[in-house]
Amino acid sequence: MSHPTLMPIRLTLAAICATALLHGAPALAQQAAEVPLSYSNGAFQPSEVRAPADKPVVFRVKNLDAKAMEFESKSLRVEKVVAAKSEGVINVRPLKPGRYEFYDDFNEKARGALIVQ
């Protein structure tokens, strides 16, 4: 493994990782819009939520049911299991204005939408 030609690749990779993490830090500080949601009796409450455009969004999904649920959305690119009687936090990148649907992947009757404007 001590082959000299290997070093540049390793260093480049380390550099990429380092810059990625350094760039990540200020973005964390960027103010995100919080969207609280609760899930009970197999339905989202409220079923339609709003958030401003071009700002990160943080969903806080409180699952009040005795079953686990999976918060999922193709358009938001998220997928997260929220255990029974617990809260899940889901980060979303800044969004363009539009309507983004989400649902419970374990129970597709439970649907809701995020309106970004």
């Binding site: 082959h3 030609t5 290997l6 690749i9 990779l13 990429i16 810059t19 990625a20 993490l21 760039h23 990540g24 973005a27 964390l28 005795a66 079953k67 686990a68 999976e70 193709k74 690119r77 998220v78 997260k80 299991v81 929220v82 255990a83 029974a84 009687k85 617990s86 809260e87 899940g88 936090v89 889901i90 980060n91 990148r93 992947d105 374990f106 597709e108």
Partner: protein, 276 residues
């Protein structure tokens, strides 16, 4: 019942593909069933543990415990798969020369088998914890419909096992010499795809925010949620909306694997007489 079948099958499907590939890769190695079976069993136990503590796990790291846990175990699988490929590049010559008498390789074969057992365990753990959570929820709720849901779940599990078998038998139809090259490519792409998936989890956790622009959206052509989309997602890491960082890491894993394999093959070629 059908809903339960579909949910369980969707999760088991990916693990089935991976186990099928690993079975084909280890086709000629003794005791492989012991290792792979052990990997599956460890994965199932770990999946139940993860499901049992899912609530606590997700509260870690400011609510990002699940994402970071997934990224970490995917990272382990990537390392194991790469190690396997590099090991095979080193010993592939012996194996190719004496396809039937690979005594020495088999004696040392427990090393890559351990790596592949870990990969199988990780695959089962990742897919299984969701199944366990889902079925637990079903069992915890009303008893009336629970039975039919459990039956649906078991059928989903059987279908997943069928996927595993079909993958395995399909790969076995490839002649042994070509099989080695095929599985090397398969495992490299599998590792690259897993690395890109780990990036996606780090992005969701906000631990990785640079180069997070989506490069293309091919969802209209092949949705990641469809069965072909899921198969490609597992096999080559297909994502319908990859970010720049995902693409970069994907290509980097392929490049590094190729580089390491060439390097170890050359080093080994230099001391042709010395054992592994």
């Amino acid at each position: 019942m059908l809903a339960a079948l579909i949910i369980v099958f969707r999760e088991v499907f990916e693990a089935g593909l991976i186990i099928g590939i690993v079975l084909a890769v280890t086709g000629s190695v003794a005791h492989r069933f012991r290792w792979i079976g052990g990997g599956v069993l460890a994965g199932v136990v770990a999946a139940c543990l993860v499901a049992a503590f899912a609530g606590a796990l997700s509260q870690l790291f400011e609510g990002m415990g699940q994402e970071l846990f997934n990224a970490a175990i995917l990272g382990v699988a990537v390392v194991m798969l790469t190690w396997h490929n590099v090991w095979m590049a080193r010993h592939g010559r012996e194996i190719a020369v004496e396809m039937r008498a690979i005594g020495q390789a088999v004696a040392e074969g427990s090393k890559p088998l351990l790596a592949l057992a870990v990969v199988v365990g990780v695959a089962v753990l990742r897919e299984g914890s969701e199944v366990a959570l889902f079925l637990y929820g079903v069992a915890a709720s009303d008893g009336g419909s629970a039975l039919s849901l459990i039956i649906g779940g078991c059928l989903g599990l059987l279908l997943g096992a069928a996927v595993c078998l079909v993958t395995y038998l399909g790969l076995l139809r490839i002649p042994p010499r070509a099989l080695f090259a095929t599985t090397t490519v398969l495992i490299t792409l599998l590792a690259a795809g897993m690395a890109a998936q780990a990036v996606a989890f780090l992005e969701r956790a906000n631990w990785l925010t640079s180069l997070d622009t989506v490069v293309w959206d091919s969802g209209w052509l092949l949705s990641e949620a469809s069965i072909p989309g899921r198969a490609l997602h597992t096999l080559i890491g297909y994502t319908d909306q990859p970010t720049q960082m995902q693409l970069l890491v994907y290509l980097a894993v392929i490049a590094i694997t190729g580089w390491l394999m060439r390097l170890t093959a050359q080093v080994h070629g230099g001391h042709a007489v010395a054992p592994g």
